[in-house]
């Protein structure tokens, strides 16, 4: 019993010591656990820092993106300095512009007819005066100024004359808004289709009348369809629409350019509703891509 009682006493003392040791051990372990977890947490941040060398995620997010696909939905950044624009000189008439060599500086005054896109402080705009039209490609333009470029607005543009796949345009341009307003009437060029004269109206707001819709291609079931998403049907809702119209046994491919007229526009819906055999009138801009490729803005 003594032993037992002593034993009991010893047990109690031992229990007390054990409890004390346990508490210390648990405290130490708990502490070490917290340290371990916090250390791991810190490692996590370090890992992220290693993975993303730039601590502040702003460099690439706002860096100049590819310039080939302007997107008007993007956030603004600062207006770029017009480092490429030629020195200011005399404003040219349309005839002088038309006669100018490619890759030479040009200065023109024209009126905005339609805006195609804005992205990363670059705007692509259809402009025209009473004598001819000018396609302004990726012109330096802040988002704020882009909003001011409503149809009719007169602008003075300095840039270089260039040609891409047959499309004559002004590139590396800057502009300023000046006094004046003009909105062009659509010029009926139906009779000029297929003629060498048509190119004289390049980029102008034009109309085509009495043309017949013919098959643009076939759907997956092998049935003829009146339009395609992209030139070969590889696109989807929101892509450019391609459709074919014929006149005097000749067929021409017209386009609803999705930056110029997106899927919410009337013309986009109208083309999707076309049926083979429909006879239609159209308006649009006389764009060029390896030949005439009008960018249609209305179908009736």
């Amino acid at each position: 019993m003594l032993y037992e009682s002593e034993s009991s006493l010893n047990d109690k003392k031992r229990k007390g010591k054990i409890m004390k040791l346990k508490k210390i051990a648990i405290a130490a372990l708990a502490f070490s656990t917290m340290v371990a977890l916090s250390a791991c947490g810190k490692n996590e941040n370090n890992d992220n820092a290693d993975t993303t060398p730039t601590a502040v995620p702003t460099v690439e997010a706002t860096a100049t993106p590819p310039t080939t696909d302007p997107d008007p939905t993007k956030a603004p950044t600062e207006t770029p300095a017009p480092t490429d624009a030629p020195a200011e000189n005399k404003v040219m008439t349309y005839a002088e512009y038309a006669a100018a060599e490619l890759d030479t500086p040009v200065v023109i005054e024209a009126y905005v007819q339609a805006k195609q896109s804005w992205w990363d402080n670059k705007a692509t705009v259809y402009t025209q005066d009473e004598n001819g039209a000018y396609f302004l490609y990726n012109m330096a333009c802040s988002e704020e100024d882009y909003a001011k470029l409503v149809p009719g607005t007169k602008i003075k543009v300095s840039g270089y004359k260039a040609e891409w796949s047959g499309e004559v345009e002004i590139v590396d341009a800057t502009f300023e808004i000046v006094e004046g307003s003009f909105v062009a009437e659509a010029k009926d060029v139906t009779s000029l289709l297929g003629s060498d004269e048509l190119i004289n109206y390049q980029n102008q707001f034009v109309s085509f009348k009495g043309m017949t819709v013919v098959a643009a291609g076939q759907n997956d079931a092998g049935e003829d369809v009146a339009f395609l998403y992209n030139w070969d049907g590889s696109g989807e809702e929101g892509s450019d629409l391609y459709f074919n119209v014929s006149l005097n046994d000749k067929t021409y491919t017209f386009t609803v350019e999705s930056y110029l007229c997106d899927k919410t526009t009337d013309v986009y819906a109208a083309v999707k509703n076309l049926k083979i055999g429909d006879v239609i009138d159209m308006e649009g801009f006389l764009y060029w891509y390896n030949g005439v490729n009008p960018h249609i803005t209305s179908v009736k």
Binding site: R14, A39, T51, D71, D103, S234
Partner: protein, 536 residues
């Protein structure tokens, strides 16, 4: 009692150890995704897939079929396809959607772009653990399709998807650049194509092709237009030239080394040939294929993934039939400075998955991503262009081997230029390279191309390309692409270095715990011995 105490301490230690390990594990994963124990097949998942195609209906059809087939295997997963025809547009849209947490689930992309996406916390899923997962990983036993194992992905291609030692993507297709040549015109000019195409040869023939008749037409083609040498991607042009010269471009950690004497020399050479009318670019003139097929270009450099557009008999064409010219087309690797040591870029789409709150959704994305690597997708997609499949499983399959062997049987599926372009890459895998990937590498790539674009434009505009011009060009391009803002990451440490303070404290506490346990055991043992002595 001792047993109970031992058990208690052991359990506590085990728990701490497990916590420690799991904490470190989470750290490795950037805490961004934990693989679920089971994929819940009763729960509906809807995932988005942003895919790039080369404006090629066959490719979009393959994507659609892949989705249909995958959805049959996993009826609880719906994949919504969004089509793009441009990597840059995908990149722009992802950047925009990062800010609103509306990134896609699965996205075709380039590692350069992923490096930018990684600026957002836990945005892109680290694939390291997913690769290895025995159930749902590469070759996993729970997969409902025959996907590749990790070893069956071409190691070189897979390594291109590693950033800072972690995989953030899988390769989807691979291509390189090729030079599509109008052999008929080369020979008409009195030249014979060498075994290995060199820059000297291209420049010499291109200069010769600018000779005109008295009426202003070009002697070689009798037309008013001749751009003997057109390069589609001037980014690649500069990068490959520098690489072949053994010159700087960037360090692996993001130090920019683009603006130096070798670059200046290359730009001066290019300027000289632009002045003669021998060279132009896609951005300045148009697609090389359009000029090549119209007999207005002799050397057209574009991706092997553009092979179906190249040549008189190309299945795809952007120009009218009456503008097509008959000539013999041959396809070569890009020109070299050192024919004994050819070097060419490895390119082509990769694919990543974006993190989401629901780990099941991420796992569904991973399953679809893996399905894109199955032979059912790899082989048909590779056949659409001059691509090669990224898995050995597909490359070595009878179906793909048969496809390659039927080169030239027709001008569609077996179009000879397309298959030769694929073979070109397969034969030169050991000669391909990629540039370092870091946050800002996409901008550096653009800057490299911009140098050539600006010089070409300036020469056409009759500007003088002298030292002052080059100095200003470097300054302007560096500013335009904000190269001075690219953060250089620290070198990966080769030694572990000094122990972090937190780790030191942890190890000390752990040692203290063991000391206390040891002390207890000693005390207890001595008590027992003392009691035994008393009994006796």
């Amino acid at each position: 009692m001792m047993k109970k105490l031992g058990l208690c301490v052991s359990t506590a230690l085990l728990a701490v150890f497990c916590l420690f390990l799991s904490g470190c594990h989470g750290s490795k994963q950037r805490g961004n995704f934990t693989i679920p124990e089971e994929f819940d097949t009763t729960k509906k998942y809807e995932i988005s897939f942003w895919a790039k195609n080369d404006t090629n209906k066959t490719q979009t059809d393959i994507y659609k079929k892949a989705i249909q087939d995958f959805q049959k295997l996993y009826p609880n997963i719906t994949v919504n396809l969004r089509l793009y025809t441009d990597y840059g547009r995908i990149y722009n849209d992802v950047i925009t959607n990062l800010q609103t947490n509306t990134t896609p689930n699965v996205c075709i992309t380039y590692p350069d772009h992923i490096a930018t996406y990684l600026t957002g916390q836990d945005v892109v899923v680290t694939l390291d653990d997913l690769f290895e997962d025995k159930r749902y990983g590469l070759g996993g036993k729970e997969l409902r399709f025959d996907g590749p194992t990790k070893e069956e992905i071409v190691p070189q291609f897979l390594s291109e998807c590693s950033i800072d030692g972690h995989y953030y993507a899988v390769p989807y297709m691979r291509s390189t650049e090729a030079c599509y040549i109008n052999k008929t015109y080369v020979e008409a000019l009195g030249y014979t194509l060498p075994e290995t195409l060199t820059w000297d040869f291209i420049w010499e023939v291109s200069d010769a092709a600018t000779e005109k008749n008295a009426d202003g037409t070009y002697k070689v083609n009798g037309q008013k237009v001749m751009l003997p040498f057109i390069y589609k991607s001037t980014d690649n042009m500069m990068i490959q030239m520098l690489r072949q010269k053994g010159a700087g471009y960037s360090s692996p950690t993001g130090e920019i080394d683009l603006f130096h004497d070798t670059t200046t020399g290359l730009l001066e050479t290019i300027a000289g040939h632009v002045k003669k009318g021998a060279f132009s670019t896609f951005k300045i003139s148009s697609y090389p294929a359009n000029f090549l097929n119209a007999g207005q270009c002799i050397f057209a450099i574009d991706s092997t993934a553009g092979a179906t557009w190249m040549g008189t008999n190309a299945p795809l064409s952007d120009i009218s039939k009456d503008a097509l010219v008959e000539f013999e087309t041959v396809v070569y690797p890009v020109p070299q400075f050192d024919p004994q040591n050819p070097q060419m870029i490895s390119q082509g789409p990769s694919a990543c998955i974006f993190n989401k709150e629901d780990s099941g959704e991420v796992l569904a994305s991973w399953l679809f991503l893996q399905y894109l690597l199955s032979n059912d997708v790899q082989i048909p997609y590779a056949k659409t262009e001059g691509y090669v499949p990224v898995t050995l499983k597909a490359q070595n399959s009878d179906e793909y081997r048969d496809y390659l062997s039927r080169c030239g049987e027709d001008n569609s599926t077996y179009y000879d230029i397309k298959i030769k372009a694929s073979k070109l890459l397969l034969a030169n895998l050991q000669n391909t390279f990629v540039t370092p990937v870091f946050n800002g590498s996409a901008s550096l790539r653009d800057a490299a191309g911009q140098l050539i674009e600006n010089v070409t434009k300036s020469v056409r505009r009759k500007e003088e390309i002298d030292d002052a011009y080059i100095e200003k060009l470097y300054r302007d391009v560096a500013a335009l692409y904000r190269l001075d803002q690219i953060h250089v990451s620290e070198e990966t440490p080769t030694e572990l270095g000094k122990l972090p303070v937190a780790s030191g404290v942890f190890l000390t506490a752990l040692a203290a715990a063991w000391l206390l346990i040891f002390a207890y055991v000693v005390v207890d043992f001595s008590k027992k011995m003392h009691a035994k002595k008393k009994k006796h």
